[in-house]
């Protein structure tokens, strides 16, 4: 005899018939959602929030300097490049919170170490099972299996949690044709069973397998059902944003969506590459904001944009910049208190040639943890970090 079958497994491709995860039906107020946008590679902060009025900036940067004519001023000190025109408008509307000099006391110029620090919310201990989002999820009850979704190939450590692993949705899975796929999967589901004394590796794969089966089909249906009233630009990043909005508006109980925009490791030819990335970022974030503004659930979403580190103040000889330390971060959303938060970093009092941090990134996390998940930040972060009041 086969074990009782999960009904969801057998409604392939039939979006209307999809069963919803228990516990989500009849929910009253929309829950808040966090969208994490990782600018992977080390975003050059000085090209994103440009300290145009500082002579040091002009001296340190020649080939990577953004010319005065291409700047949109925020105040007498800093400006955004014109590639971020959408974000500049959001800033004027008070819906963009901007942080400069975000970093931490454990600077490390390795991408991996720095990402680990951001994802673990501090030095990552060997063998630590959960990232900071994972730790949040472990403190919440009644979560849907879709609480954490990563749009991309490899979920970051931030999402790791033995109890609430992320659902991973790659562009490729969206291509998997379900009509051909579903009979084999249904067969597999019927055959599937654990043998006595199986090794931990197999047990682990089995657990992920069960999750995978149901998750992808439902997520895919959520993407397909939604017809946004906003046109997203034809970039991959904007399409991820569009999918993020679809998840926020779905009834899957998604609380965290993670995705990345890569290509920020601009050791050479930085100016043109970084400008393109800024335009892609701006187009995607602006469309997402416009989309989210139109619904109650959307207005409860908070978007956090960060990078593992900023880059050196002085550019290198390859028309690029090497790995540095502090850099900017952004928060967007209807509930955000816009404007500049925290103090800008000094361009002269440097930490080994890099911007020294003025805001610990865990202060941003603290705001998210409290606002989005209604949890006590120090529980998750292990220490108290000054809340910045940006939400």
């Amino acid at each position: 005899m086969s074990p009782p079958l999960d009904r969801r497994m057998f409604v392939f491709g039939s979006a209307a018939a999809l069963a919803r995860p228990a516990g989500l039906r009849g929910r009253s107020a929309p829950q808040r959602t966090l969208v994490l946008v990782q600018l992977t590679g080390g975003n050059d902060g000085l090209s994103m929030v440009v300290p145009y009025a500082d002579d040091v900036y002009g001296r340190a940067r020649s080939s990577t300097r953004i010319p005065a004519g291409e700047l949109l001023r925020l105040d007498e000190r800093i400006a955004l490049p014109r590639t971020l025109a959408g974000l500049h408008a959001l800033h004027q509307d008070g819906k963009l919170a901007l942080f400069e000099g975000v970093g931490h006391p454990y600077p490390n110029r390795s991408h991996f170490r720095s990402l680990d620090i951001w994802h673990a919310a501090g030095p990552r201990e060997r063998g630590a099972p959960s990232g900071w989002i994972g730790r949040c999820m472990e403190r919440l009850t009644g979560l849907s299996p879709f609480a954490v979704v990563h749009l991309g190939l490899r979920p970051p450590f931030a999402l790791a949690s033995p109890r609430q692993p992320p659902v991973v949705v790659t562009p490729a899975i969206l291509l998997a044709g379900d009509p051909a796929l579903s009979p084999a999967l249904a067969q597999a589901r019927e055959l599937e069973c654990a043998s006595p004394g199986e090794n931990p590796a197999l047990a682990g794969v089995r657990a992920r397998w069960h999750q995978a089966q149901s998750a992808l089909l439902e997520v895919r249906a959520a993407f397909e059902q939604r017809r946004p009233n906003v046109v997203y630009p034809p970039t991959d990043f904007a399409q991820d944003m569009r999918n993020a909005a679809a998840l926020i508006h779905s009834e899957l109980g998604v609380r965290v969506i993670s995705l990345e925009l890569g290509g920020f490791d601009t050791h050479r030819d930085q100016r043109i590459r970084h400008q393109r990335l800024m335009a892609e970022l701006d187009g995607g974030l602006t469309a997402l904001r416009a989309d989210l503004e139109r619904s109650e659930g959307g207005r409860e979403a908070l978007v956090l944009v960060f990078s593992e580190f900023g880059r050196r103040v002085v550019e290198n000889a390859s028309d690029g910049c090497d790995h540095g330390k502090a850099g900017p971060a952004l928060a967007l959303g209807s509930r955000v208190r816009g404007g500049l938060h925290g103090r800008g970093p000094s361009l002269t009092e440097l930490d080994d040639g890099d911007l020294a941090y003025t805001t610990d990134f865990r202060s941003l996390y603290a705001g998210c943890i409290e606002h989005v998940f209604a949890l006590a930040p120090e529980d998750v972060l292990g220490a108290r970090f000054p809340a910045l009041g940006f939400v």
């Binding site: 991973v168 044709g177 069973c193 197999l202 682990g204 397998w209 050479r268």
Partner: protein, 542 residues
Amino acid sequence: MLSSAILLLLAPLGGAPQAALAWDARRAEHLLNRASFGANTRAIERAVALGPEALVDELLRCDAWVEEPFYSRKRLDGEVYRRLMSVSGEAQYEGVDRQHAADRAQSQDFVLWWVERILAARDPLRERMVLFWHGHFTSSLGLVKSSYEMIQQNQLFRRLALGNFRELLHQVAHDPAMLLYLDSDSSRKEHPNENFARELLELYTLGEGNYSEQDVGEVARAFTGWSQADGRFYLNPKRHDEGAKHVLGVELREGDEVLEVVLAQAACARHIARALLSYFEGLEPAPERLERYAAGLRADWRIDSFLRRLFLDPDFYRDEACASRVSSPLDYLVGAAQRLGVTPPPSLAFAGAALLGQRLFFPPTVRGWEGGDNWTTSASLVLRGSLAGVLLGRVPAGELLGATLARGSMEESMEGLGANPLAGNKDAAPEPTAPRRRLGRDVAAEVRLLDGLDWLPRLNLTQRFGRAGPPSDEALARALLEEVLAIPAPPALVTRITERLARERLAQGLGSEPWTSRPEQCEPLLRELAHAVLCLPEAQLD
């Protein structure tokens, strides 16, 4: 070429010959899963008969000489670039596009040649090591942006795959693809670029915690001026910092000296030994064992002798290490093809692996492919099953991707770009005029390969399982699982499949006739079951 070196190293360092290795089909399959790319039951029977020493000898005895296809440089620089820039307008754009297309075609052609060797099990251990070094000394075509240098690097890995690590390290440091990938090529004494220096110490040789930030800066100075042109290394004296550097407590001047200082660190052999052990065993090595293997490696830096010791080490076959490694996408696809006995076109294995997260020539980060649980995301677990369906002739390759593309689900937002993107009108969401394909950043080229693929496997499972006489349902179930899975047949699954065969027997009115006497009914059912089995968690391990 290698056999004389091997004979000298038959006795492992500091101990008696490892004669205590028990040898059976399970162990033979384990070795062939890890050292080769999987094997069918016949190859396993042969391996059992050969015995471990002879089998390991055979794996290590690769062709002394590989005929690699000829390719020329197509990078858009130098004379080609000047010539293109001298024309104007449309002609220039076309010229640039043509050049890029030619370069893409060349890299793809080479990678397909490589995958073809893997699929054909030509020098499987050497190709396995080429893949290992590609993930260790990472370079990505995405940054190198020129197929020729990537191909040269791959050929370097092939030449030294099982050779001397010391020599490999020196050559990699001079390798044009590496010089481009980690920016040594543009590093000058005025502003040393630390990219190569950092990865050299952190990922390629010592591992984190075995050097200081100051070492990174000093190493970067030593490698200034290491440049490439026309696919060849050269030292640019104008960019090279001639001054004294202090690396790990040693005063030196040149990059080559840095490599020797690094090799002399105990941490280096330990780092490489750990990488090899965890790659082949799928587990972190125990500290004493790691030290033993690191000492062995440091004695001669030979990769072949290291692997020989490993493959004849009874510990390599311990229960914990067997049937417990999450298969990489290539292991899954090539292994499934080997076990099923089909020879898919290389484009299927290459494109399939890329869709599953292992895109050759494009390691995701400088850390390479991290493997293990990283392979089994919710997405890849589902996709693996559909690719297995292609191998079995149950899912046409074109249809694998076609269903979604035709529906145009992701496409409508790509239309109507002339309009103000934010002037959304509730009643007039733009409708797609024609289906547009949105294939994702990393998959476009692979999808094109799958799209045009018209292939069906030559396969006769019925005949194969009936070769020793008509099997009982249980024997058929067991044979199917043993053939299709890289791991021993799980008893509970044997029962499930036996039950299924019995139910089908009733449904199809087969009476007590053996399944294999009715190929028309047996073959589709066996393929259906094989497909389902390849979707299961058990099929994701080797």
